[in-house]
Amino acid sequence: MIGSTTLYGLCATGLVAIGLYGLVLHPSPLRKVIAFNLLGSGTFILFGVAAQRGAAAGLLADPVPQAMVITGIVVAFAATAVAVALLLRLVESGGSTLEPSAPDPQDDRPS
């Protein structure tokens, strides 16, 4: 019978699929960033499942993957912060999408 841990594992795979879908198809950068965070959360839960399954020696869960997840969450937050700052600056400078436009051949600056 499926245990609760496995249930959360399945939940993680669901989050991964949903996050990937959004990351691939959403044209807006902000929505991509959100989808990336969902995807990341799913991945972290996978670690959590491993931690929970590894409960032993009086510990309720294996602490090593937990520590990795905490590090991972911080890194994901940093990534989000940089991405958001970048996209805000991009919008301020007049661009809004990720798809490049044709380069201007008369532009004199080194590309």
Partner: protein, 542 residues
């Protein structure tokens, strides 16, 4: 006395001159030093024999050595480099970019002399590449539309040749332990190795490209005429010999290999006639000479093919002898064209006689050095159809050379008549004299025949009739001159260039594909597919 340092100096001196160009004072005067650059090579050819020196220890094993074949070509080439260098130091003086020209010149020189004296595979590839790539600078020097096209084609084909040769080399050494074997060790291993056929094919294609075997000759009639006169002389006289020495060094000539030999011989003879047929439709004397080089190199290839098919001993020496003769004659002819072009009709009557002698020497006119070359190589072809065709090719040469002299006459009429510069004339005369005399000196050393045999009645007859036929054909051709089609320079390349729009379309298509692939959804979908594909491959195939 140990003269082996001369081998090192052959490469080191021109390279040192290139390095010295870093200093602007030397750079300003480098042109005047060009005639001196090949001097060590010339001395080495005269004094040095049989030694080999390893200039870098194992596992690099860069090795220099000079055998008879190498010495013959090294000597001839050094002589021509020296004379052409003298010519260049006068004719190029004051032209914009002459310093740059000198650097390319010295690099080409290093490479082209290097191929005759290196003994290991890596060094051979190195100097071979140096010769063919640096020559690009000579071809492209004039920077006209014509020379840009020529240099583009030259570069493309030179690189193709490099690739073919490199692949062939890799196949050659793949069975050898250690990184860098001597050429002769590698070639000795070739017969019977599993990669023999592809290796030989690649080598023939690669070196054949350099010597101008049909249909890989297309760069030659484009590249040789667009360079300045002295550069044309060395391109047509010397650089093509890098291909010849390559074939000599890398084909297992000692071991009979009828199939490859026959193939090379047929290809060579085909080239010999093809060069003549297209050559007679050309207008500019330099272009005619370039086609003549194609044709003559075809003969050399045929000689090698004939030798390879029977494994006849001495093939290498004979082919080198023939090549040496062509080297000097072609160099002298190009320099002569330069003199006629510069002086117009002023001296033409005095120049045209020696030029005719040189020209028909290529066709084997009796008593000329060309007759010696033909005489020496003839036995290799046996008595059958091949021998007949080889002889017939002499008729073709005579025809082409008659056409050349006609065009030279026209050139003289069209040029302004300046006073000749003594140095230019001296350079030309030196090479011309060497081309007529040197083979007589060498002949007894490399063949078993006595010189008297070459002037026997039979020999004279065999040498004369093709020339006569060629002259008759030339008369006939002059009669129908107007109806001779004008084939553009580079013949088949023109057809290939028609494919340019197609290539451009391919390029555009690739660009468009790139734009699609670089769209975000596409790229990320591809990423997912790759992840799934790798997972699947790792899981299900073992």
């Amino acid at each position: 006395m140990d003269w082996s340092f001369l081998l090192v100096a052959t490469l080191a001196l021109p390279l040192a001159m290139v390095v010295a160009c870093v200093h602007h004072l030397f750079f300003a005067r480098v042109l005047s030093w060009l005639p001196l650059a090949p001097v060590p090579g010339l001395l080495a050819a005269l004094f040095e024999r049989g030694d080999s020196i390893v200039i870098a220890p194992a596992p690099l094993r860069l090795t220099l050595a000079l055998d008879d074949v190498g010495a013959m070509l090294l000597g001839g080439a050094s002589l021509l480099w020296g004379a052409a260098g003298l010519y260049a130091s006068v004719s190029m003086r004051g032209k914009p970019g002459s310093g740059r020209f000198a650097i390319w010149w010295l690099l080409t020189l290093t490479g082209s002399l290097g191929v005759f004296i290196v003994a290991d595979m890596t060094s051979f590839y190195l100097v071979f590449s140096l010769a063919s790539l640096a020559a690009y600078g000579l071809v492209a020097f004039e920077n006209t539309a014509r020379s840009r096209r020529a240099s583009r084609v030259y570069m493309a084909l030179a690189l193709l040749g490099e690739a073919l040769i490199l692949f062939g080399f890799v196949m050659l050494v793949s069975a050898m332990p250690g990184g860098n074997p001597l050429i002769r060790d590698a070639v000795a291993m070739l017969p019977g190795s599993p990669l023999e056929s592809p290796a030989v094919l690649l080598l023939i294609l690669g070196f054949g490209l350099k010597t101008g075997l049909v249909p890989l000759h297309v760069w030659m009639p484009l590249a040789h005429p667009v360079a300045p006169i002295p550069a044309s002389a060395v391109l047509s006289g010397i650089i093509v010999k890098a291909g010849v020495i390559g074939l000599i060094r890398f084909l297992p000539l000692e071991v009979p290999s009828p199939d490859w030999g026959m193939a090379l011989m047929v290809l060579g003879l085909l080239t010999a006639f093809y060069g003549v047929i297209v050559g007679v439709t050309q207008q500019h004397p330099k272009t005619v000479l370039a086609y003549s080089t194609v044709s003559q190199m075809g003969v050399v290839a045929a000689v090698l093919g004939a030798g390879l098919s029977t494994g006849a001993p001495g093939t290498a020496t004979l082919a080198a002898f023939y090549a040496l003769h062509h080297l000097l004659v072609k160099g002298a002819l190009f320099l002569g064209v330069g003199i006629v072009g510069a002086t117009g009709t002023r001296y033409v009557s005095r120049v045209i006689i020696p030029m005719a002698l040189l020209a028909f020497s290529l066709a084997g006119l009796p008593l000329t050095s060309g007759a010696l070359a033909k005489f020496a190589t003839k036995p290799l072809f046996g008595d059958g159809l091949a021998a007949f065709m080889a002889t017939l090719s002499a008729a073709g040469s005579a025809l082409l050379m008659a056409h050349f002299l006609g065009r030279l006459r026209t050139l003289a009429d069209e040029s302004t008549g300046d006073v000749a510069n003594a140095s230019l004339v001296f350079a030309w005369a030196l090479v011309a004299a060497a081309s007529l005399i040197l083979p007589w000196v060498l002949f007894p050393e490399i063949t078993t025949y006595a010189l008297s045999e070459t002037v026997s009645m039979k020999a004279l007859w065999v040498a004369s009739w093709p020339v006569a036929i060629g002259l008759l054909l030339a008369l006939f051709l002059k009669r129908i001159d107007a109806s001779v089609p004008r084939i553009p320079e580079g013949d088949v390349i023109v057809l290939l260039e028609r494919l340019q729009p197609l290539a451009a379309r391919c390029g555009t298509a690739i660009e468009r594909t790139d734009l699609v692939l670089r769209r975000w959804p596409v790229a990320s979908i591809v990423l997912l597919m790759l992840a799934i594909a790798f997972g699947t491959a790792l899981q299900f195939s073992r």
